[in-house]
């Protein structure tokens, strides 16, 4: 898997949608079976470049996601490898039964890009702010879920998805993300990583919460609390071994996610722990409610997802 991030101007921050667009074009060059499906979403979902280069392999199906998801399944039965991209609620929920019956049950190689996860577009309100996708999608057999945290992960996740025999759901955030991985980083499906070693508590996180959690860890480090930060970029199948080895060391686990705590990353981690290493755990996320409306910086503060508030939550948890 080649990482063409080096060809780009190295910047500290990457736009996930631009990274996806570049990766799809590169993948399309290498594999003629790659097709791109959009639902009046090709510009927003950054498939515009693919369309310019491979117009015959781009299928626009309009604002009709049930059909688009079924079409993706049909293409996959003919050996095509569709990437379908649309706003999160419309690809995760509107066509859920098509995803379940036509793609997951059949285990077809269809790759779904859930754009604008979490509070990406929180000013658009709760219809567009999806905090439940991981729970809903994770319940489906045969599917793989990626939730990358930075440019190199996003880029390589696209290539990994095409290789996996079966559906892959990739959560894509709208905000530019600080690059934490170097260009020689290798993304492996199902493998998490220790971003910062520590001994007192394990903080499991993903996607947009990786950087704030690292910052929270630094805040607490200065207070003498040692936090091990895990980046879980594959939500399903989750890296059980890493969760177990880290939690065996620290004996305490915190999950941090821009998602509901009902059936999110924390639940996926708890599923592992409750069976094999039941330790004390706290889930930091959104507590079973629909989002309020607001700008990103205000809303993450409101829900306690800023570095300082995450640090406070972890500190309080450790006091109990």
């Amino acid at each position: 898997m080649e990482n063409n991030m080096d060809k780009e101007k190295i910047e500290e921050y990457d736009d996930p949608r631009k990274v996806f667009s570049n990766a799809l074009v590169e993948l399309g060059r290498k594999n003629p079976n790659i097709i791109y499906i959009s639902c009046d979403s090709s510009l927003g979902a950054s498939g515009g470049e693919f369309h310019k280069i491979f117009p015959e392999r781009h299928f626009e199906f309009g604002i009709a996601e049930q059909n688009a998801m079924g079409e993706a399944a049909g293409f996959a039965t003919c050996g095509k490898i569709p990437f379908i991209a649309a706003y999160m609620p419309f690809v995760a929920f509107r066509c859920f039964e098509q995803l379940r019956d036509d793609i997951c049950k059949t285990k077809l190689n269809v790759n779904i890009m859930g754009n604008n996860c979490g509070f990406s577009v929180s000013s658009l309100g709760p219809t567009h702010t999806v905090l439940e996708d991981m729970g809903v999608i994770r319940s489906l057999p045969n599917i793989t879920i990626f939730s990358p945290c930075d440019g190199p992960e996003y880029y390589q996740a696209v290539f990994a998805a095409a290789e996996i025999e079966g559906p892959v759901f990739i959560r894509i955030h709208r905000n530019k993300v600080k690059r934490i991985h170097s260009s020689d980083f290798k993304f492996v499906c199902g493998k998490g990583e220790i971003l910062k070693p520590g001994n007192d508590v394990t903080a499991v996180t993903c996607s947009s919460m990786v950087n704030p959690t690292l910052e929270a860890a630094n805040i607490l480090e200065n207070k003498g609390v040692s936090i091990e930060v895990l980046n879980i970029s594959t939500i399903k199948p989750i890296d059980k071994e890493l969760v177990l080895s880290s939690s065996s060391k620290t004996k305490k686990v915190v999950s941090v996610e821009e998602h509901s705590v009902v059936n999110g990353l924390g639940t996926a981690v708890a599923d592992v722990l409750i069976k094999e290493n039941p330790v004390k755990m706290k889930m930091i996320g959104i507590n079973d409610e629909f989002s309020v409306v607001g700008e990103y910086k205000d809303i993450v503060d409101y829900y306690g997802l800023t570095p300082i508030k995450i640090a406070n939550s972890i500190e309080n948890f450790l006091k109990v």
Partner: protein
């Protein structure tokens, strides 16, 4: 849009091969033998007999006379595809596939058993010849349309035939896909609507009227023809001339009778899913065989 009310009307529009008397007799025998086999399967369990019997004549003609397919090589890449979007009619498909040699007829008699391969809705992983799994209504047309588009992308000349139920046309996804096929001018896609006028709870026109279905498909960019779905010549002739118009998807509205061939059940919604009493099976087989004899006699005259 052209409406076919008789063979003459259709022949005046296009140059069409006609079935010989022997061919029609063979098709009738096959179709009614499939009905008998379905009744035998129902010795094990209840089933969706109504739609199976209404669609059987069409599916019989498709597999015997229209589809380019190879039962010994079910995944032949250039095959024509048949997708039974109204998956609950699969008893018809199973019996036709068995007759075609896709699998041993013995498999039919496992119907209703634990882990049977002939489930009440078709699963592609369980049996050769099942193109795509269906069961939840409204899924087959989007899938079928993409397979037709993939043929164009791959410069292949196979066709895709999708059978819908008329009640199924109440699903919104059907219209999303219909709009899409009209938009892409997908002329290697053929929809056949098994219009038996009934659904689970009663008459389609009472529950949610789909009429005028021909005008609706026409308005979505399809070329539409209407036939008697139990007239073998009409079925054959209309399926022989697809696409009706180059650059447009084709829609066949087949007027059918629910539970066709089981006279006491014909046209009654209660037989959509028949909870059959076992002591009625032998009599039912006799009824179907009598209808078959009468149909053959009509051809003989």
């Amino acid at each position: 849009m052209s409406y076919i009310s008789s063979n003459e009307d259709l022949r005046s529009i296009t140059k069409i091969k006609k079935l010989t008397k022997d061919e029609i007799e063979s098709l009738i025998s096959k179709s009614y033998n499939c009905r008998v086999n379905i009744l035998k399967m129902m010795r094990n369990a209840e089933g969706h007999i109504g739609g199976a019997f209404s669609s059987l004549d069409i599916i019989t003609v498709l597999y015997n006379k229209i589809l380019r397919h190879d039962p010994k090589n079910p995944r032949w890449p250039d095959r024509d595809r048949f997708i039974l979007s109204a998956g609950h009619k699969c008893l018809a498909l199973y019996t036709v596939l068995a007759d075609q040699g896709y699998f041993n007829e013995e498999i039919l008699w496992t119907y209703g058993q634990f882990k049977t391969r002939v489930a009440m809705h078709p699963e592609e992983k369980l049996l050769p010849g099942i193109e795509f799994p269906t069961g939840s209504l409204g899924h087959g047309l989007p899938v079928g349309h993409a397979i037709a588009l993939a043929a164009k992308l791959d410069k292949k000349n196979y066709r895709v035939f999708v059978m819908l139920g008329d009640g199924e046309c109440q699903e919104g996804s059907i219209w999303e896909a219909a709009m899409s096929a009209g938009h892409y001018k997908t002329d290697n896609l053929v929809v056949i609507i098994d219009k038996n006028g009934l659904q689970v709870n009663g008459l389609t026109r009472d529950i949610m009227n789909i009429s005028p279905i021909e005008d609706k498909f026409n308005a979505f960019g399809w070329e539409v023809k209407k036939i008697d779905g139990h007239d073998f010549n009409q079925i054959y002739e209309v399926l022989s001339v697809v696409p009706f118009v180059k650059g447009k998807p084709s829609c066949i509205v087949a007027n059918t009778t629910k539970c066709k061939g089981l006279t006491f059940a014909e046209g009654q919604f209660q037989y959509h899913h028949w909870h059959c009493e076992q002591d009625k099976i032998d009599d039912s087989i006799e009824v179907v065989n009598n209808v078959c004899r009468k149909e053959l006699e009509k051809i003989g005259k």
